[in-house]
Protein backbone atom coordinates (compact mmCIF):
# COMPACT_ATOMS: atom_id res chain seq x y z
CA UNK A 1 0.00 0.00 0.00
CA UNK A 2 1.75 3.15 -1.18
CA UNK A 3 -1.08 5.67 -1.32
CA UNK A 4 -0.25 9.06 0.14
CA UNK A 5 -2.69 11.61 1.47
CA UNK A 6 -1.64 14.08 -1.22
CA UNK A 7 -2.89 11.65 -3.85
CA UNK A 8 -6.30 11.15 -2.24
CA UNK A 9 -9.01 13.67 -2.91
CA UNK A 10 -12.73 14.02 -3.52
CA UNK A 11 -12.33 12.53 -6.99
CA UNK A 12 -10.52 9.40 -5.87
CA UNK A 13 -12.30 6.10 -6.52
CA UNK A 14 -13.05 3.57 -3.84
CA UNK A 15 -10.18 1.48 -5.09
CA UNK A 16 -7.87 4.42 -4.38
CA UNK A 17 -8.83 4.85 -0.74
CA UNK A 18 -6.43 3.51 1.87
CA UNK A 19 -7.63 0.31 3.54
CA UNK A 20 -9.79 1.12 6.55
CA UNK A 21 -9.32 4.84 5.83
CA UNK A 22 -6.05 4.76 7.68
CA UNK A 23 -3.21 7.18 7.02
CA UNK A 24 0.33 5.91 7.40
CA UNK A 25 2.30 9.12 7.20
CA UNK A 26 2.61 11.97 9.68
CA UNK A 27 1.04 15.43 9.73
CA UNK A 28 -0.84 15.36 6.44
CA UNK A 29 -3.07 18.21 7.58
CA UNK A 30 -0.23 20.51 6.59
CA UNK A 31 -1.61 20.09 3.07
CA UNK A 32 -4.77 21.87 4.16
CA UNK A 33 -5.03 25.63 3.79
CA UNK A 34 -6.86 26.97 6.84
CA UNK A 35 -5.36 30.40 6.31
CA UNK A 36 -8.34 31.33 4.19
CA UNK A 37 -10.52 31.23 7.34
CA UNK A 38 -8.92 34.50 8.48
CA UNK A 39 -10.87 37.71 8.84
CA UNK A 40 -8.21 39.37 10.95
CA UNK A 41 -4.51 38.91 10.38
CA UNK A 42 -1.63 39.04 12.88
CA UNK A 43 1.37 40.92 11.55
CA UNK A 44 4.80 40.22 12.95
CA UNK A 45 6.90 43.30 13.74
CA UNK A 46 10.33 41.77 13.95
CA UNK A 47 11.99 44.91 15.23
CA UNK A 48 9.88 44.89 18.40
CA UNK A 49 10.20 41.15 19.07
CA UNK A 50 12.41 40.09 22.00
CA UNK A 51 12.01 36.40 21.11
CA UNK A 52 10.60 35.66 24.55
CA UNK A 53 8.57 32.86 22.88
CA UNK A 54 5.48 33.51 24.96
CA UNK A 55 3.29 33.61 21.87
CA UNK A 56 4.40 30.20 20.64
CA UNK A 57 2.56 27.81 23.02
CA UNK A 58 -0.63 29.90 22.90
CA UNK A 59 -1.13 29.39 19.18
CA UNK A 60 -3.83 26.73 18.62
CA UNK A 61 -2.70 26.28 15.03
CA UNK A 62 1.04 25.80 15.49
CA UNK A 63 1.51 28.67 13.10
CA UNK A 64 4.44 30.48 14.66
CA UNK A 65 7.65 28.79 13.55
CA UNK A 66 10.79 28.88 15.66
CA UNK A 67 14.29 28.32 14.44
CA UNK A 68 17.61 28.62 16.26
CA UNK A 69 16.12 30.53 19.16
CA UNK A 70 14.36 32.98 16.86
CA UNK A 71 10.66 33.40 16.34
CA UNK A 72 10.00 33.55 12.61
CA UNK A 73 7.15 35.11 10.65
CA UNK A 74 3.68 33.54 10.73
CA UNK A 75 2.73 30.43 8.79
CA UNK A 76 -0.16 32.14 7.02
CA UNK A 77 -1.27 28.94 5.30
CA UNK A 78 -2.49 27.65 8.66
CA UNK A 79 -2.99 30.73 10.88
CA UNK A 80 -6.73 31.31 11.38
CA UNK A 81 -6.31 34.80 12.79
CA UNK A 82 -7.66 34.19 16.29
CA UNK A 83 -5.50 36.96 17.77
CA UNK A 84 -4.44 35.15 20.96
CA UNK A 85 -0.78 35.82 20.16
CA UNK A 86 -1.52 39.52 19.68
CA UNK A 87 -2.90 39.69 23.22
CA UNK A 88 -0.17 37.67 24.94
CA UNK A 89 2.76 39.57 23.39
CA UNK A 90 4.22 41.78 26.15
CA UNK A 91 6.13 43.92 23.64
CA UNK A 92 3.48 44.89 21.11
CA UNK A 93 5.38 43.00 18.44
CA UNK A 94 2.24 41.67 16.75
CA UNK A 95 -0.27 43.91 15.02
CA UNK A 96 -3.80 42.72 14.33
CA UNK A 97 -5.23 44.02 11.07
CA UNK A 98 -8.14 43.35 8.75
CA UNK A 99 -7.36 40.57 6.31
CA UNK A 100 -7.27 41.75 2.71
CA UNK A 101 -7.88 38.97 0.21
Amino acid sequence: MKRRAQDINEHSTWQDMTVGAEIFEPATSLLVNTGDWRIMKPVFKEDKCKHCMLCIPYCPDSSIPVKDGKRLDFDYMHCKGCGICVKVCPFGAIDFVKEVK
Binding site: M1, S12, W14, Q15, M17, V19, G20, A21, E22, F24
Partner: protein, 395 residues
Amino acid sequence: MAIRDRMSGNEAIAMAMKQINPDVMGAFPITPSTEIPQYFSEYIANGLVDTDFVAVESEHSAMSVCMGASAAGARAVTATSSAGLALMWELLYVAASSRLPITMAVVNRALTGPININNDHSDSMGARDSGWLQMYAETNQEAYDNFIQGILISEACRLPIMICQDGFITSHGVSNIELIEDEKVREFVGEYQPENYLLKHENPLAVGPYGTSPYYMEIKRQQAQAMKDAMPVIRDVAEKFEEMTGRSYGFFEEYRMDDAEVALVVIGSSAGTGKEAVDRLRAEGKKVGLIKLRVFRPFPRIPLAEAMCKVKAVAIMDKAESFSNSGGPLFNEARNSLYDLEDKPYAVNYIYGLGGRDITVEDFYDIYQDLFVIYDNDDPGDVYRYIGVRDSRFL
Protein backbone atom coordinates in the same frame (compact mmCIF):
# COMPACT_ATOMS: atom_id res chain seq x y z
CA MET B 1 -0.97 -37.46 15.65
CA ALA B 2 -4.13 -35.73 16.69
CA ILE B 3 -4.85 -35.68 20.40
CA ARG B 4 -8.10 -37.38 21.38
CA ASP B 5 -9.76 -35.61 24.25
CA ARG B 6 -13.14 -34.67 25.61
CA MET B 7 -14.12 -31.21 26.72
CA SER B 8 -16.82 -28.58 26.54
CA GLY B 9 -17.07 -26.09 23.71
CA ASN B 10 -15.91 -23.27 25.98
CA GLU B 11 -12.89 -25.29 27.02
CA ALA B 12 -12.20 -26.06 23.37
CA ILE B 13 -12.19 -22.35 22.50
CA ALA B 14 -9.94 -21.57 25.45
CA MET B 15 -7.65 -24.38 24.31
CA ALA B 16 -7.54 -22.95 20.78
CA MET B 17 -6.71 -19.54 22.24
CA LYS B 18 -3.96 -21.04 24.36
CA GLN B 19 -2.43 -22.78 21.36
CA ILE B 20 -2.66 -19.61 19.27
CA ASN B 21 -1.07 -17.67 22.13
CA PRO B 22 -2.50 -14.28 21.13
CA ASP B 23 -0.89 -11.02 22.21
CA VAL B 24 -3.89 -9.43 23.90
CA MET B 25 -7.19 -10.65 25.23
CA GLY B 26 -9.74 -8.17 26.55
CA ALA B 27 -12.79 -9.79 28.09
CA PHE B 28 -15.66 -9.34 30.49
CA PRO B 29 -17.67 -12.29 31.82
CA ILE B 30 -21.16 -13.03 30.59
CA THR B 31 -23.06 -16.30 30.68
CA PRO B 32 -22.53 -18.63 28.84
CA SER B 33 -19.14 -17.49 27.53
CA THR B 34 -17.70 -16.69 30.98
CA GLU B 35 -15.70 -19.90 31.17
CA ILE B 36 -13.55 -18.85 28.21
CA PRO B 37 -11.82 -15.93 29.98
CA GLN B 38 -11.78 -18.05 33.15
CA TYR B 39 -9.90 -20.91 31.55
CA PHE B 40 -7.67 -18.41 29.81
CA SER B 41 -6.91 -16.62 33.08
CA GLU B 42 -5.71 -19.94 34.47
CA TYR B 43 -3.32 -20.31 31.56
CA ILE B 44 -2.05 -16.81 32.30
CA ALA B 45 -1.78 -17.53 36.03
CA ASN B 46 0.36 -20.56 35.24
CA GLY B 47 2.56 -18.88 32.66
CA LEU B 48 1.33 -21.02 29.77
CA VAL B 49 0.75 -18.10 27.40
CA ASP B 50 2.43 -14.77 26.69
CA THR B 51 -0.84 -12.92 26.35
CA ASP B 52 -1.65 -9.68 28.15
CA PHE B 53 -5.09 -10.35 29.55
CA VAL B 54 -6.98 -7.11 30.14
CA ALA B 55 -9.80 -7.77 32.61
CA VAL B 56 -11.96 -4.84 31.61
CA GLU B 57 -15.02 -3.36 33.29
CA SER B 58 -17.48 -4.04 30.42
CA GLU B 59 -17.82 -5.71 27.06
CA HIS B 60 -17.72 -2.26 25.55
CA SER B 61 -14.22 -1.86 26.88
CA ALA B 62 -13.35 -5.44 25.91
CA MET B 63 -14.00 -4.60 22.28
CA SER B 64 -12.23 -1.25 22.68
CA VAL B 65 -9.16 -3.01 24.05
CA CYS B 66 -9.21 -5.44 21.15
CA MET B 67 -9.45 -2.59 18.64
CA GLY B 68 -6.59 -0.71 20.27
CA ALA B 69 -4.46 -3.83 20.42
CA SER B 70 -5.22 -4.85 16.86
CA ALA B 71 -4.43 -1.38 15.53
CA ALA B 72 -1.21 -1.45 17.54
CA GLY B 73 -0.15 -4.54 15.60
CA ALA B 74 -1.10 -7.23 18.08
CA ARG B 75 -3.18 -10.35 17.68
CA ALA B 76 -6.31 -9.72 19.74
CA VAL B 77 -9.08 -12.06 20.85
CA THR B 78 -12.15 -11.87 23.02
CA ALA B 79 -15.29 -13.81 23.89
CA THR B 80 -18.83 -12.75 24.64
CA SER B 81 -22.54 -13.54 24.47
CA SER B 82 -25.92 -11.88 24.18
CA ALA B 83 -26.11 -8.56 26.03
CA GLY B 84 -22.33 -8.41 25.99
CA LEU B 85 -22.35 -8.48 22.22
CA ALA B 86 -25.15 -5.94 22.24
CA LEU B 87 -23.10 -3.60 24.40
CA MET B 88 -20.31 -3.84 21.83
CA TRP B 89 -22.70 -3.01 19.01
CA GLU B 90 -21.42 0.43 18.08
CA LEU B 91 -17.85 -0.77 18.18
CA LEU B 92 -18.49 -3.80 15.98
CA TYR B 93 -19.07 -1.39 13.12
CA VAL B 94 -16.00 0.65 14.03
CA ALA B 95 -13.75 -2.42 14.18
CA ALA B 96 -14.99 -3.62 10.80
CA SER B 97 -14.75 -0.25 9.09
CA SER B 98 -11.26 0.35 10.46
CA ARG B 99 -10.50 -3.12 9.06
CA LEU B 100 -9.06 -4.39 12.32
CA PRO B 101 -8.60 -8.15 12.53
CA ILE B 102 -10.07 -9.43 15.80
CA THR B 103 -11.19 -12.97 16.52
CA MET B 104 -14.17 -13.12 18.84
CA ALA B 105 -15.73 -16.25 20.25
CA VAL B 106 -19.46 -15.68 20.41
CA VAL B 107 -21.31 -18.14 22.58
CA ASN B 108 -24.79 -17.54 21.26
CA ARG B 109 -27.45 -16.64 23.76
CA ALA B 110 -30.84 -14.98 23.50
CA LEU B 111 -30.98 -11.23 23.81
CA THR B 112 -32.86 -9.89 26.79
CA GLY B 113 -36.54 -9.08 26.55
CA PRO B 114 -37.27 -10.93 28.82
CA ILE B 115 -33.93 -11.89 30.27
CA ASN B 116 -32.93 -15.41 29.34
CA ILE B 117 -29.54 -17.08 29.49
CA ASN B 118 -30.14 -19.91 27.03
CA ASN B 119 -29.30 -20.35 23.42
CA ASP B 120 -30.62 -18.79 20.29
CA HIS B 121 -28.96 -16.76 17.58
CA SER B 122 -30.55 -13.38 18.16
CA ASP B 123 -27.30 -11.85 19.42
CA SER B 124 -25.02 -12.53 16.46
CA MET B 125 -27.84 -12.40 13.90
CA GLY B 126 -28.61 -8.92 15.15
CA ALA B 127 -25.02 -8.00 14.39
CA ARG B 128 -25.18 -9.43 10.89
CA ASP B 129 -24.87 -6.06 9.18
CA SER B 130 -21.93 -4.87 11.27
CA GLY B 131 -19.33 -5.93 8.72
CA TRP B 132 -17.95 -8.85 10.73
CA LEU B 133 -17.27 -12.23 9.22
CA GLN B 134 -19.40 -14.89 10.92
CA MET B 135 -18.92 -18.63 11.21
CA TYR B 136 -21.12 -21.03 13.16
CA ALA B 137 -20.32 -24.41 14.67
CA GLU B 138 -22.38 -27.54 15.12
CA THR B 139 -20.03 -29.14 17.65
CA ASN B 140 -17.22 -28.28 20.03
CA GLN B 141 -14.86 -29.70 17.41
CA GLU B 142 -16.08 -27.24 14.81
CA ALA B 143 -15.93 -24.35 17.25
CA TYR B 144 -12.29 -25.20 17.95
CA ASP B 145 -11.43 -25.71 14.28
CA ASN B 146 -13.26 -22.54 13.23
CA PHE B 147 -11.47 -20.45 15.84
CA ILE B 148 -8.06 -21.56 14.63
CA GLN B 149 -9.02 -20.88 11.02
CA GLY B 150 -10.71 -17.65 12.05
CA ILE B 151 -7.45 -16.06 13.12
CA LEU B 152 -5.96 -16.50 9.66
CA ILE B 153 -9.13 -15.56 7.80
CA SER B 154 -9.56 -12.39 9.83
CA GLU B 155 -5.98 -11.27 9.32
CA ALA B 156 -5.93 -12.10 5.62
CA CYS B 157 -9.20 -10.24 4.97
CA ARG B 158 -8.46 -7.44 7.43
CA LEU B 159 -11.93 -7.98 8.82
CA PRO B 160 -12.93 -9.00 12.33
CA ILE B 161 -14.59 -12.40 12.74
CA MET B 162 -17.15 -13.94 15.06
CA ILE B 163 -16.72 -17.64 15.77
CA CYS B 164 -20.14 -18.66 17.01
CA GLN B 165 -21.30 -21.71 18.89
CA ASP B 166 -24.51 -22.52 20.72
CA GLY B 167 -24.64 -21.44 24.35
CA PHE B 168 -24.80 -24.33 26.84
CA ILE B 169 -25.61 -26.86 24.11
CA THR B 170 -22.04 -27.03 22.91
CA SER B 171 -20.38 -24.46 25.18
CA HIS B 172 -21.12 -26.48 28.32
CA GLY B 173 -21.68 -29.89 26.79
CA VAL B 174 -18.68 -32.17 27.14
CA SER B 175 -17.99 -34.36 24.16
CA ASN B 176 -15.18 -35.94 22.22
CA ILE B 177 -12.77 -33.74 20.33
CA GLU B 178 -9.57 -34.12 18.37
CA LEU B 179 -7.07 -31.48 19.30
CA ILE B 180 -4.19 -30.40 17.12
CA GLU B 181 -0.69 -30.37 18.60
CA ASP B 182 0.39 -26.97 19.96
CA GLU B 183 3.30 -26.57 17.58
CA LYS B 184 1.17 -27.42 14.57
CA VAL B 185 -1.38 -24.77 15.57
CA ARG B 186 1.37 -22.20 16.06
CA GLU B 187 2.84 -23.02 12.70
CA PHE B 188 -0.61 -22.84 11.09
CA VAL B 189 -1.46 -19.41 12.47
CA GLY B 190 2.12 -18.10 12.15
CA GLU B 191 3.07 -14.60 13.22
CA TYR B 192 0.74 -11.66 12.69
CA GLN B 193 2.52 -9.20 10.44
CA PRO B 194 0.37 -6.22 9.50
CA GLU B 195 1.69 -3.78 6.95
CA ASN B 196 1.04 -0.74 9.10
CA TYR B 197 0.41 -0.51 12.82
CA LEU B 198 0.48 2.14 15.52
CA LEU B 199 3.74 0.96 17.02
CA LYS B 200 5.63 0.63 13.74
CA HIS B 201 9.12 2.05 13.77
CA GLU B 202 9.26 3.36 10.20
CA ASN B 203 6.07 5.43 10.09
CA PRO B 204 3.19 6.47 12.29
CA LEU B 205 -0.33 5.29 11.61
CA ALA B 206 -3.56 7.21 12.06
CA VAL B 207 -6.69 5.11 12.53
CA GLY B 208 -10.35 6.08 12.65
CA PRO B 209 -10.79 9.40 10.83
CA TYR B 210 -13.81 11.56 10.41
CA GLY B 211 -15.05 10.46 7.00
CA THR B 212 -16.84 13.27 5.26
CA SER B 213 -19.46 12.59 2.61
CA PRO B 214 -17.04 12.77 -0.32
CA TYR B 215 -15.12 9.83 1.20
CA TYR B 216 -17.52 7.84 3.37
CA MET B 217 -19.25 5.97 0.59
CA GLU B 218 -16.00 4.99 -1.10
CA ILE B 219 -14.74 3.68 2.22
CA LYS B 220 -17.91 1.62 2.64
CA ARG B 221 -17.70 0.31 -0.91
CA GLN B 222 -14.20 -0.86 -0.22
CA GLN B 223 -15.39 -2.59 2.95
CA ALA B 224 -18.09 -4.36 0.95
CA GLN B 225 -15.41 -5.56 -1.43
CA ALA B 226 -13.42 -6.97 1.47
CA MET B 227 -16.45 -9.04 2.48
CA LYS B 228 -16.75 -10.30 -1.07
CA ASP B 229 -13.04 -11.09 -1.26
CA ALA B 230 -13.32 -13.10 1.96
CA MET B 231 -14.96 -15.98 0.06
CA PRO B 232 -11.78 -17.33 -1.56
CA VAL B 233 -9.80 -16.62 1.63
CA ILE B 234 -12.17 -18.78 3.68
CA ARG B 235 -11.86 -21.53 1.08
CA ASP B 236 -8.06 -21.36 0.99
CA VAL B 237 -7.70 -21.41 4.76
CA ALA B 238 -10.04 -24.41 4.93
CA GLU B 239 -7.88 -26.24 2.37
CA LYS B 240 -4.76 -25.54 4.36
CA PHE B 241 -6.57 -26.70 7.49
CA GLU B 242 -7.65 -29.91 5.80
CA GLU B 243 -4.06 -30.63 4.82
CA MET B 244 -3.12 -30.40 8.49
CA THR B 245 -6.04 -32.24 10.06
CA GLY B 246 -7.93 -34.11 7.40
CA ARG B 247 -11.07 -32.28 8.46
CA SER B 248 -12.75 -30.54 5.60
CA TYR B 249 -14.78 -27.33 5.79
CA GLY B 250 -16.78 -25.37 3.27
CA PHE B 251 -19.21 -22.48 3.40
CA PHE B 252 -21.79 -25.09 4.29
CA GLU B 253 -22.05 -28.83 4.64
CA GLU B 254 -24.39 -30.88 2.49
CA TYR B 255 -25.68 -33.90 4.35
CA ARG B 256 -27.19 -36.70 2.26
CA MET B 257 -28.30 -34.18 -0.36
CA ASP B 258 -27.70 -36.46 -3.36
CA ASP B 259 -31.10 -37.43 -4.76
CA ALA B 260 -32.84 -35.65 -1.86
CA GLU B 261 -36.36 -34.44 -2.63
CA VAL B 262 -36.74 -32.16 0.36
CA ALA B 263 -34.18 -30.59 2.64
CA LEU B 264 -33.65 -28.10 5.38
CA VAL B 265 -31.09 -25.39 5.92
CA VAL B 266 -29.98 -24.93 9.50
CA ILE B 267 -27.23 -23.26 11.51
CA GLY B 268 -25.41 -24.56 14.58
CA SER B 269 -25.85 -27.48 16.93
CA SER B 270 -29.39 -28.28 15.80
CA ALA B 271 -27.91 -29.47 12.52
CA GLY B 272 -26.73 -32.60 14.35
CA THR B 273 -30.21 -33.33 15.61
CA GLY B 274 -31.52 -32.73 12.10
CA LYS B 275 -28.95 -35.14 10.67
CA GLU B 276 -30.19 -37.85 13.01
CA ALA B 277 -33.69 -37.29 11.65
CA VAL B 278 -32.30 -37.51 8.11
CA ASP B 279 -30.60 -40.82 8.91
CA ARG B 280 -33.75 -42.33 10.32
CA LEU B 281 -35.90 -41.06 7.47
CA ARG B 282 -33.39 -42.34 4.94
CA ALA B 283 -33.57 -45.73 6.68
CA GLU B 284 -37.30 -45.58 6.01
CA GLY B 285 -36.62 -44.88 2.35
CA LYS B 286 -37.46 -41.17 2.43
CA LYS B 287 -35.27 -38.98 0.27
CA VAL B 288 -34.36 -36.18 2.63
CA GLY B 289 -31.23 -34.09 3.07
CA LEU B 290 -29.85 -31.25 5.14
CA ILE B 291 -27.66 -28.22 4.55
CA LYS B 292 -25.73 -26.87 7.51
CA LEU B 293 -24.60 -23.33 6.99
CA ARG B 294 -21.16 -22.63 8.46
CA VAL B 295 -20.39 -19.23 6.97
CA PHE B 296 -23.13 -16.64 7.29
CA ARG B 297 -20.92 -13.61 6.56
CA PRO B 298 -20.03 -13.40 3.77
CA PHE B 299 -23.27 -15.04 2.71
CA PRO B 300 -22.49 -17.78 0.17
CA ARG B 301 -25.39 -16.75 -2.02
CA ILE B 302 -24.65 -18.58 -5.25
CA PRO B 303 -23.34 -21.94 -4.00
CA LEU B 304 -26.06 -22.11 -1.37
CA ALA B 305 -28.76 -21.42 -3.93
CA GLU B 306 -27.34 -24.15 -6.15
CA ALA B 307 -27.35 -26.61 -3.27
CA MET B 308 -30.93 -25.76 -2.34
CA CYS B 309 -31.99 -26.20 -5.95
CA LYS B 310 -31.28 -29.92 -5.73
CA VAL B 311 -34.59 -30.37 -3.92
CA LYS B 312 -38.25 -29.50 -4.48
CA ALA B 313 -38.97 -28.02 -1.08
CA VAL B 314 -36.67 -26.56 1.50
CA ALA B 315 -37.25 -25.50 5.11
CA ILE B 316 -35.02 -22.63 6.19
CA MET B 317 -34.55 -22.64 9.94
CA ASP B 318 -34.03 -19.49 11.98
CA LYS B 319 -33.04 -19.55 15.64
CA ALA B 320 -33.76 -15.82 15.77
CA GLU B 321 -36.73 -13.61 15.08
CA SER B 322 -36.21 -10.45 13.12
CA PHE B 323 -39.75 -9.14 13.63
CA SER B 324 -39.94 -8.29 9.97
CA ASN B 325 -43.28 -10.04 9.55
CA SER B 326 -41.65 -11.96 6.75
CA GLY B 327 -39.44 -14.49 8.46
CA GLY B 328 -36.06 -14.70 10.12
CA PRO B 329 -32.71 -13.43 8.87
CA LEU B 330 -31.47 -16.67 7.33
CA PHE B 331 -34.78 -17.22 5.56
CA ASN B 332 -34.74 -13.83 3.97
CA GLU B 333 -31.22 -14.15 2.67
CA ALA B 334 -31.44 -17.79 1.66
CA ARG B 335 -34.76 -17.35 -0.09
CA ASN B 336 -33.55 -14.19 -1.78
CA SER B 337 -30.60 -16.12 -3.16
CA LEU B 338 -33.01 -18.44 -5.00
CA TYR B 339 -34.70 -15.61 -6.86
CA ASP B 340 -32.54 -15.67 -9.97
CA LEU B 341 -32.76 -19.40 -10.48
CA GLU B 342 -35.21 -20.94 -12.91
CA ASP B 343 -35.98 -24.22 -11.25
CA LYS B 344 -36.20 -23.23 -7.64
CA PRO B 345 -37.66 -25.14 -4.72
CA TYR B 346 -40.46 -23.99 -2.47
CA ALA B 347 -38.86 -22.33 0.50
CA VAL B 348 -40.51 -21.99 3.88
CA ASN B 349 -39.26 -20.61 7.15
CA TYR B 350 -39.34 -22.13 10.62
CA ILE B 351 -38.54 -20.01 13.63
CA TYR B 352 -37.37 -22.42 16.31
CA GLY B 353 -35.40 -22.77 19.52
CA LEU B 354 -35.77 -19.24 20.88
CA GLY B 355 -34.39 -18.70 24.38
CA GLY B 356 -33.24 -22.30 24.74
CA ARG B 357 -36.44 -24.01 23.54
CA ASP B 358 -35.28 -27.52 22.75
CA ILE B 359 -35.65 -28.90 19.24
CA THR B 360 -35.81 -32.65 18.94
CA VAL B 361 -35.44 -35.30 16.30
CA GLU B 362 -39.25 -35.55 16.38
CA ASP B 363 -39.57 -31.86 15.53
CA PHE B 364 -37.39 -32.40 12.49
CA TYR B 365 -39.57 -35.36 11.51
CA ASP B 366 -42.54 -33.01 11.58
CA ILE B 367 -40.77 -30.46 9.41
CA TYR B 368 -39.80 -33.06 6.80
CA GLN B 369 -43.38 -34.26 6.89
CA ASP B 370 -44.53 -30.70 6.15
CA LEU B 371 -42.06 -30.48 3.29
CA PHE B 372 -43.42 -33.61 1.68
CA VAL B 373 -46.90 -32.16 1.95
CA ILE B 374 -45.73 -29.00 0.20
CA TYR B 375 -44.01 -31.10 -2.45
CA ASP B 376 -47.02 -33.35 -2.97
CA ASN B 377 -49.59 -30.55 -3.03
CA ASP B 378 -47.42 -28.19 -5.03
CA ASP B 379 -48.32 -25.44 -2.59
CA PRO B 380 -46.08 -23.89 0.06
CA GLY B 381 -48.91 -22.51 2.20
CA ASP B 382 -47.87 -19.96 4.78
CA VAL B 383 -44.11 -19.63 4.40
CA TYR B 384 -43.50 -17.97 7.77
CA ARG B 385 -43.92 -20.60 10.47
CA TYR B 386 -42.97 -21.43 14.01
CA ILE B 387 -42.09 -24.82 15.41
CA GLY B 388 -41.97 -25.77 19.07
CA VAL B 389 -44.25 -22.99 20.28
CA ARG B 390 -47.51 -23.59 22.14
CA ASP B 391 -50.34 -22.33 19.96
CA SER B 392 -53.99 -22.37 21.01
CA ARG B 393 -55.07 -22.82 17.39
CA PHE B 394 -53.47 -26.23 17.28
CA LEU B 395 -54.57 -27.59 20.68
